[in-house]
Symmetry: D4
Subunit: 248 residues, 8 copies
Amino acid sequence: MNKDTLLQLLDDVKKGKRSPEEAQARLSDLPYQELGYAKIDHHRAIRTGYPEVVFGEGKSPDQLNGILEVLQKKGNNILATRVSPDLYQAVKSISPDLQYHELARCITLRQKNPAMPETSIAVVTAGTSDLPVAEEAAVTAEIFDNKVERFFDVGVAGIHRLFDQLDRIREARVLIVIAGMEGALPSIVGGLVDKPVIAVPTSIGYGANFGGLSALLGMLTSCASGVSVVNIDNGFGAAYQASMINRL
Amino acid sequence: MNKDTLLQLLDDVKKGKRSPEEAQARLSDLPYQELGYAKIDHHRAIRTGYPEVVFGEGKSPDQLNGILEVLQKKGNNILATRVSPDLYQAVKSISPDLQYHELARCITLRQKNPAMPETSIAVVTAGTSDLPVAEEAAVTAEIFDNKVERFFDVGVAGIHRLFDQLDRIREARVLIVIAGMEGALPSIVGGLVDKPVIAVPTSIGYGANFGGLSALLGMLTSCASGVSVVNIDNGFGAAYQASMINRL
Amino acid sequence: MNKDTLLQLLDDVKKGKRSPEEAQARLSDLPYQELGYAKIDHHRAIRTGYPEVVFGEGKSPDQLNGILEVLQKKGNNILATRVSPDLYQAVKSISPDLQYHELARCITLRQKNPAMPETSIAVVTAGTSDLPVAEEAAVTAEIFDNKVERFFDVGVAGIHRLFDQLDRIREARVLIVIAGMEGALPSIVGGLVDKPVIAVPTSIGYGANFGGLSALLGMLTSCASGVSVVNIDNGFGAAYQASMINRL
Amino acid sequence: MNKDTLLQLLDDVKKGKRSPEEAQARLSDLPYQELGYAKIDHHRAIRTGYPEVVFGEGKSPDQLNGILEVLQKKGNNILATRVSPDLYQAVKSISPDLQYHELARCITLRQKNPAMPETSIAVVTAGTSDLPVAEEAAVTAEIFDNKVERFFDVGVAGIHRLFDQLDRIREARVLIVIAGMEGALPSIVGGLVDKPVIAVPTSIGYGANFGGLSALLGMLTSCASGVSVVNIDNGFGAAYQASMINRL
Amino acid sequence: MNKDTLLQLLDDVKKGKRSPEEAQARLSDLPYQELGYAKIDHHRAIRTGYPEVVFGEGKSPDQLNGILEVLQKKGNNILATRVSPDLYQAVKSISPDLQYHELARCITLRQKNPAMPETSIAVVTAGTSDLPVAEEAAVTAEIFDNKVERFFDVGVAGIHRLFDQLDRIREARVLIVIAGMEGALPSIVGGLVDKPVIAVPTSIGYGANFGGLSALLGMLTSCASGVSVVNIDNGFGAAYQASMINRL
Amino acid sequence: MNKDTLLQLLDDVKKGKRSPEEAQARLSDLPYQELGYAKIDHHRAIRTGYPEVVFGEGKSPDQLNGILEVLQKKGNNILATRVSPDLYQAVKSISPDLQYHELARCITLRQKNPAMPETSIAVVTAGTSDLPVAEEAAVTAEIFDNKVERFFDVGVAGIHRLFDQLDRIREARVLIVIAGMEGALPSIVGGLVDKPVIAVPTSIGYGANFGGLSALLGMLTSCASGVSVVNIDNGFGAAYQASMINRL
Amino acid sequence: MNKDTLLQLLDDVKKGKRSPEEAQARLSDLPYQELGYAKIDHHRAIRTGYPEVVFGEGKSPDQLNGILEVLQKKGNNILATRVSPDLYQAVKSISPDLQYHELARCITLRQKNPAMPETSIAVVTAGTSDLPVAEEAAVTAEIFDNKVERFFDVGVAGIHRLFDQLDRIREARVLIVIAGMEGALPSIVGGLVDKPVIAVPTSIGYGANFGGLSALLGMLTSCASGVSVVNIDNGFGAAYQASMINRL
Amino acid sequence: MNKDTLLQLLDDVKKGKRSPEEAQARLSDLPYQELGYAKIDHHRAIRTGYPEVVFGEGKSPDQLNGILEVLQKKGNNILATRVSPDLYQAVKSISPDLQYHELARCITLRQKNPAMPETSIAVVTAGTSDLPVAEEAAVTAEIFDNKVERFFDVGVAGIHRLFDQLDRIREARVLIVIAGMEGALPSIVGGLVDKPVIAVPTSIGYGANFGGLSALLGMLTSCASGVSVVNIDNGFGAAYQASMINRL
């Protein structure tokens, strides 16, 4: 909004062309609800139909309970990530429809019918130990109304397993590729598939992986084009962007 | 391709259901051309209409000359990145249509008419010193047949400049957001725009930016959803992925 | 004190112009009290009316008890930081007026009437997980006799929440801005407010935040002027300096 | 500005209590001037009387020339930092009143009479090699209309030199303390002076100082209270905040 | 396999010169078995007689049980590394012939008679705290059918202990040298022995060893020729390569 | 020993000028005793009267018991470092004369009368949290037959406490100076005292001290001459070298 | 050599069973020649037939000249690494048979007929920019009397180029695999080839490769077995060990 | 000096028991001379007979000239370190007795007769490239009136060269051991010699030595007792402390 349009808008209000309420809606940005310990942002969900998202880690059972109750009433789909089994036990009475995804450590509550696009998101992992991150990504993508295809344990140490699945992987519209240790899989996949690849380094490993640093640097310096990277273990973030791309 | 379909394919060839040529096309992977000091990969361009891309840095004038001549004959568009002015002088006689983008340090040669989609890519920078990276991204996106909108010098130190342009920025289908130092701009933009954001940290700065590390870490840990990151100063990589997304 | 004034001072003593006591007061520096396991420095509090401060972490219940008892007798206000609930239980019998701030993990004992300046310190946080650090800062600032205004959960992912409070934030004389992950909030605030900003990176987060390093580097390389930084999670240190500035 | 006050403002416009222009002034944020390669922000200087500041590094002579000419016409004081002697030669014809500070690598142009507060800023350095950073801080503080007292070469290896000047150092309202290598000086000064200390690590040194990292970490972990830190070699940033505090 | 030989192969199939099965064996790469949570790769063991290897860390008792049962039926030797005593208890009923190596934290199951070469592998450690890594290496080398000679606690702080054993150490065909802290032992041994040395840094130590980083960097920058390095604490990896070399 | 003197030595043996035993004593280096899990090196203690030293961390009760019993019989003084209270309980029955130093986490057994030199070692700490490292240093120095003077809690935040003790500190022949966080104390002391200073960084602290790194870098880059550094938390190592210097 | 065999040896000399010369040969270790600025070690070459090796970097023309002249007279093959073209000009008059390998920056002088084993070493690179390191490895391996097969520019971004050459790569007895950026190639190759792989990270790249760190960490954490790593850019070291293995 | 002795001292002055001059000498600390760009500290040299030391790096010819002239008049020995040949040319006219040590990059001026102790300092290096640091150490030790024995190029890759010189090395009273790359030499020497070892890491090397970091960490984590460390390349600092120890 530049100065002229702003002036115009105000002028419109003065002249009665727009009601103050109308201008307020135009000007005031994203509404939210004050909850004491948190400000809940209804804006995105209202405008876009996106689910409400809660980051569970570090929240007390009471806090999570309070937030989920408020969100539930809005009627949108809900996703809570990084929820431990104990934390889930403390909030599960909110609704019988709450679903807990143990491996992904996520809670979902579906309150709206899915509106799936035809295309799908591929979630690809290098090893079995990347599964929790992969499932966080998959569960996130699904509650955001995307079809998800899983391709697990196809890492570079036995690369024939990847080639075996390549045709199906190529059918996805966007790929999430997850790997720890040397983090080479996104480079390989990026060189074989002409679709955007979102790479997720994981903190899985020991020694010189330094909490995911080796995979992170490997993915950032990938020689393959079309690869971008999100934070270590951030399956949610990868799925959020993949969903944006898949639903464009 | 799993073992059964492979066996089937071979069986089809044996029985004459498929010609060997057909099977070869199915099986043989990406062709390339041996140039002595480099293997040129024509596959992508042939199959997808993508331009041929050359990384100029570290190449001798003779090497770049040789590669460009081969590529020119294929008739595709050509992009050479990280080409110093001196290196450009040494190769510019190849074609009068070679274009040198000084700020972006890129050579382009357009040999095919552009097939632009309606949608555009926004290239957004925090400061004026991020311009070389931004121009590498913009020139790349354009030779890949995308419309590009530039929004420069709208960084967080004077955030009203960003808000002023927000309406136009929101019109893009995908955003490339470039910043050095604290790298906060992609977080802000990601919180304001519901489109995929590809963040590019730059090595611009001094002191504790440690060659782009501060911006890189800031972008990776961005609190905003929908942000992914490419390597420091990698304008080309960001544009490559943005083009993939824009042209989906 | 250069050599000449020293000689003069001693000469004054010799000639009886100054008593030895007077010279001693001039020369001897800061007195303290030997407690065996610690030397308690009464100087600051005596001279300035500042509260006595104890760093609780790593102290045994007996040690903390001993130090608090000595300090209590001096009659000043007392602040003990980094005190776990268990440690608090072990010392709370010292005085019924001890106050325990659970979120801030601080003990305070007010023994002097507050002498508040008119102006206030704003404590601003990016997210709800930054609250413990924010409360340590707020409790510290209050026991140092400052009015504190709290603005929590106004981080860059939903920047409209910040703008909504901007007028009130601008009323403070000095700001403490607290953020983890990319640590972008102090840059934004510093670009919008013409007051000194003391930034506190927090260790909240995961992956590439590396224990607060991402926020620390982001804040140090902030493009906004008027921002300085204290150690990761150091709410106390930020409040100490903010109090100095507010009470100038 | 919360929603109610916004609605009120718009209602005022509708009812003619405020002119649209008035509301626009209230609403529209910081104006700036488009220069092609840069957006010049006049807002701060207009509103606050602050000088215009230009970061010279990485700017071409033409660019710097263009920016300085625009700024000169506004009639404010001007500060350009990180200006090499060569760059200065290329722009010095703009005005005979341009002053070049060689050690500080700064250009200043004073167009308004100084309005000095009574109090002063102390600039304290550990060694002679910290002088360029110290002078950048001092020149900045002076063009921002502050009295500056310089205390150079009083580092911890010969700490008596510091004690000798302590009385005069204590007279300042705020201190900028600059050191390389182990960066211990701010800790010492912070323990001896009851004024805010802004610490500047410098990249001076060799071996394990790793480009200023040793001094930076030392200052951040300072045991003394009342110390905050700016980026390595950032004399300007320290002076900017010190000026804010001194002029409160 | 270039395009011509591929075409030739397919042509052979068409003309009946090769059976589809023959071509499949030529083309299809490494077979594996889908287990739901893991893809077991039988290829290596089938083709080479190598044992099957399982990485135990992070596997649930059920998962490890399932994998071991499948592997046992194939009749090959089995090695499971990083198996805690608890995990071993949960799977030991699979076979009375399972052997648990407590110090090495490995399970082995020998189902084939060893085919030992004459030559041996020396496993050399600097200190007693390197023993777990050394035993992982030794147990691995033995189940891969190698003779192993152990030389423990011969580090550089008492280098005469190394010299005392030098004649015997020189008899090995390849050496695994394991050290923490400064990691100097491989340099010494590499300067005294004309055999390939595989160095293993360990995470043993405190302070500036930073989880094995000091030993890792020391070994990588070794002045002695003939030394290569594997990941921190990776006794298995060192033994795998040593076995390859010993059995060439 | 060069080749000629070696030849000469052997020739002497042949000619009977030296007995083989004599030559053996000349040639054979440091003897040790094989204990299965450890090689005990009696050489140093035998030759120099030094105590036997055992590093307790990571040793099982049985191992420590075995080693201590062997050492006890040799009749030398014994020092075991990094011994937890539990580990001490498991071995204390070896001798009623075993002494456990809880803060230092050390066991000592004195079996020889001390032969103290006149001069002393000063152990100086910045804060109370450095005490465990300081006591490890002090206990080590004492069992190595040195007089130790302790100066605790004299860090730079209240530097007058240091000056108060300076005369007594200057009486020591060599100083061990221990500090965490910014690690500035050795720089200060090194600038005030003309004796060798051995600096010990501690891992005490939080935030940007990164496990002692800030103190380590600060000490290594100390501007004061005469300061050298040992590993983080290595009180034993500092005392070992200080004892060497004190007893020269 | 333990004490008993030493005593025995000396006794043998005394009794005349061995001549002093004989014992000297047994005891005296590696002879060398004092050159003032360097000690030249003839031992290895004498005993093993290995070439003499000189590290050229940092040597003055005079020093290199002196060393080469001494080595030439011994009659062995000679290898000098890290020799700039200028340095080569300064020493080339030593012998018309000196060969300069420009890309590898190596000098070789062959004075003995090669004794090649049948087997070969494969040198594999990811990109064209890895060629200097690859040629250093190849030239080293050749002067150490090994057959070398070169496979350049077969990196993971176009992995079909690798597969195309896989059959020939598998024929080597040991592989040197060289890559920069994400360093993924050794992982891929190690998963496809049952031969020892020595990985060499290169410092080629930009941004987050941090001078080779990304490739180094990637290779160290490789999921493939049978991979060990040498220092960044250390083509010589890789070839030295590969030669050891190939010639076992 | 505690408060009572201070009061006593002042009382003595008052009563005429001490002259003000006497008290001044007792109280006033280290005198210095103001030179504008530097404060020259004469104290140490006056009191102790130590040479005056100047750090040349970063000083202009004029500054160095000015400082040297002032120092020369005091009549003490002078040492200037880090002096480039060009800088030396600019100051050499000060005195015909100035000596320039090219390899060490030091200037010395001897104005007092040496007072050598009987004992000596050994300067030991691993390689020829460590010579500049070694010579800085040796020249420093000599101008501080110590006998120096040089043992160069005895690193761990050919450890027999070290053993050959061990008897002579053991004769020194204190050792300076200098090494780059893995920095293992001080560990070896510390395990063989019962004298204090001061270790100096050098920045010599490439790849993973990261500017001396590998050697620094290796030396800090040395398993040998009696080793302490100074900054990377700090030959002067090592010699300063060694001189202190040798002259005790």
